[in-house]
């Protein structure tokens, strides 16, 4: 890949800023995996075969973009034809989408930009409604890398509709640091399902999502974490025009040493937008879920309706859930709320189900399944929905 000037320029700007602020450490946030380790000296990158099979989630009729280190693996991809551009490389548009982020105050984002070798760009033309989701999967060419840092730009034109599934990157011993930039034009509707699965053999997985919403647009995001390993997800939505609507959901089913650090943030620059951050976790073993949810409402962004909720079920004594909601409101007429709770399954609920003949184990499993069902049901893609339900709801952690 020969780099042309727009990318070089972006990279050097991001790199300068990165030198100033560095990668996030415990001084910035409770995320500790960067600070704890010196990644430059990690030598043993093993390439264990993973038990994640993306194909089981992808239906025959759905689109697939298989991304390798140096571009799209055309042979294994199944690209949409009409009204959608899928390309790897660089262009003016990339520069527009990424230039703001070169001044990000997040070292992970800066690092991804400063070291990118190209950008996967998915552009859905105005008025185009994709009938099938697009899956973004990553091939084996990343396996020799220590840092795997894909950068993806998804742009939906006016009134376009598309759903995208971001599959995990399977690398034992490596560090994943992905960046996905989304822009949703007027009246467009975007949906992203971020699969955060089988990350345990990686050093850690960091994924940053940045979405910008135009007038009357919609953006729905769901992260599903399972066998997640050490994860940092940072999802930020910016409302730039009124009547936009965004719901960010996360379903974390964690066990053993899984530790998911989830940051979601909604920035309301203008009023009359609707935002929800809904995070549910089921925690077993010594797993940890840490939720930082933020709402920022700018001065004058009246009639904003933005709230967050974080519910955690602890199934073991050693699991932990930490919740840090934050509301910063500078407008007057705003509906904003946050709620968080941590607890166990309710004995009264279990007894009620048992008193109707349902055995205890089944009752408990049913309660856990119901806990995450609403979130999974929100997925519009039937294939992904049913595969995730199967995986998360009938998994060992949830019972049977």
């Amino acid at each position: 890949m020969i780099l042309v000037s727009p990318l070089i320029d972006l990279k050097s700007k991001a790199s300068q800023k990165l030198q100033q602020i560095g990668l996030p450490t415990v001084a910035h946030e409770d995320w500790k995996y960067v600070a704890d380790q010196d990644f430059e000296v990690i030598k043993s990158v093993s390439h264990a075969v993973q038990d994640y099979k993306p194909c089981s989630l992808i239906l025959e009729t759905e689109y697939v973009v298989v991304l390798g280190k140096s571009g799209i693996d055309q042979g294994r991809s199944r690209l949409p034809k009409n009204g959608v551009t899928v390309e790897f490389g660089d262009s003016e548009v990339n520069q527009n989408a990424l230039s703001g982020l070169t001044q990000s105050d997040d070292g992970m984002v800066l690092k991804a930009i400063s070291e990118m070798t190209g950008v996967l760009r998915i552009l859905v033309n105005p008025q185009i409604s994709l009938d099938q989701p697009i899956h973004i999967a990553f091939d084996e060419s990343f396996l020799n890398e220590q840092w795997i840092q894909p950068v993806v730009i998804i742009e939906l034109g006016e009134k376009a509709t598309a759903s995208v599934v971001v599959h995990p990157i399977m690398v034992a011993g490596g560090v994943v640091n992905g960046l996905v930039v989304v822009s949703v034009a007027d009246h467009a509707q975007g949906e992203i399902v971020a699969l955060n699965l089988e990350g345990r053999s990686a050093q850690f997985v960091s994924m940053s999502y940045r979405a910008t919403l135009a007038e009357s647009s919609q953006f729905q995001f769901l992260q599903a974490s399972h066998h997640a390993g050490k994860v940092r997800s940072d999802v930020q939505v910016t409302f730039t025009a009124p009547h936009a609507n965004s719901v960010l959901r996360a379903v974390l089913v964690l066990d053993d040493q899984d530790a998911v650090h989830l940051r979601t943030h909604m920035t309301h620059l203008v009023g009359e937008c609707f935002g929800r951050q809904l995070v549910k976790s089921i925690l077993n073993g010594q797993s940890v879920s840490e939720f930082h949810g933020g709402v920022y409402v700018a001065k004058g962004a009246d009639l904003t309706d933005s709230s967050q909720s974080n519910e955690n079920l602890l199934l073991s004594d050693q699991a932990r859930a930490i919740s840090r909601p934050q509301l910063q409101i500078h407008a007057d007429d705003v509906k904003a709320a946050h709620g968080a709770n941590v607890g166990q399954l309710d004995d009264r609920h279990i007894f009620y189900l048992m008193s109707r003949g349902i055995p205890r184990a089944q009752a408990e499993q049913f309660l856990l399944q119901s806990f995450i069902l609403e979130a999974l049901d929100s997925i519009s893609m039937p294939g992904v929905k049913s595969a995730l339900k199967k995986r998360l709801m009938i998994s060992g952690e949830i019972g049977e």
Binding site: G357, P359, S370, F371
Partner: protein, 254 residues
């Protein structure tokens, strides 16, 4: 059907049932009345297998077996059903899915295959119509945000689906409007059979005008203090409980 002998039970160290005995034969309807806090719901929940109550002595025989040996779910599958005074709300748990799971648990116990979801849907619709239970309630979370009367009707719906042998109705009439009371009572009356028994806990005569009991008991301070026929209901309605509990009636005026 069920035979309770000298039952003593406590919760958190507080003794509630103090030597209660009761014998209900197949096909009989027994009413249980008594002052607030006397232990009526406790008795029902102990029969249903609520784990918070500890039986310290006495026995309960159900259908020839030892009821107290069974967990709540096993009792339910074997035919014990309690319509609760305060049905618990379970947010996020779909009512129809819950009802189907419960129905299937019973079918499995009977050695029958799982019900076809579509057939079950039809069955639910039919039964809810009989109870004038809005169909919207089936798609909602179990009892979540249901009105008092809707909760009680949802309990009766479960009773009809599970076809129990021993039905305990704990103040099912409270919270029901006049029409709903009649509808529920009619459902219960239709549901009566020679091999099914009822324990009807209530404070009011009105329900017992519809569901006429064979035997009426007064439970006070953890024991049955009086047993009679349905005429006892009217007497209680007129005289209250003080003459049975030995309490001195409060002076009126001064």
């Amino acid at each position: 059907m069920v035979s309770i002998q000298e039952l003593y039970a406590e919760i958190e160290g507080k003794s509630i049932l103090k030597g209660l005995s009761l014998d209900v034969k197949p096909g009989e309807v027994h009413a249980i009345m008594g002052p607030n806090g006397s232990g009526k719901s406790t008795l029902g929940k102990i029969l249903a297998g609520h784990p918070d109550y500890e039986v310290t002595s006495g026995s309960v025989t159900f259908d020839g077996g030892n009821l107290l040996d069974m967990d709540a779910d096993e009792r339910a599958r074997n035919g014990v059903f309690m319509a609760f005074q305060y049905p618990v709300e379970i947010p996020g748990v779909n009512n129809a899915s819950f009802l189907r799971m419960s129905y299937n648990a019973k079918r499995k116990h009977l050695g029958l295959p799982e019900v076809d979801p579509f057939e079950f849907e039809l069955l639910l619709q039919k039964q809810s119509k009989l109870l004038k239970l809005g169909e919207g309630l089936l798609d909602r979370s179990v009892n979540d945000g249901f009105s008092g009367g809707e909760k009680k009707r949802n309990e009766i719906l479960q009773m009809m689906l599970l076809e129990p042998k021993l039905v305990i109705l704990d103040e099912t009439d409270s919270g029901l409007d006049i029409d709903a009371l009649r509808i529920v009572a009619e459902s219960v009356n239709r549901f009566k059979s020679p091999d099914r028994s009822f324990l009807v806990i209530t404070h009011y005569q009105r329900l017992l005008d519809y569901i006429v009991p064979d035997v009426v008991h007064v439970l006070a301070n953890g024991k049955i203090v009086k047993t009679g026929d349905h005429l006892l209901v009217r007497e209680l309605e007129e005289r209250g409980y003080d003459w049975l509990t030995g309490a001195i009636p409060s002076e009126v005026g001064g």
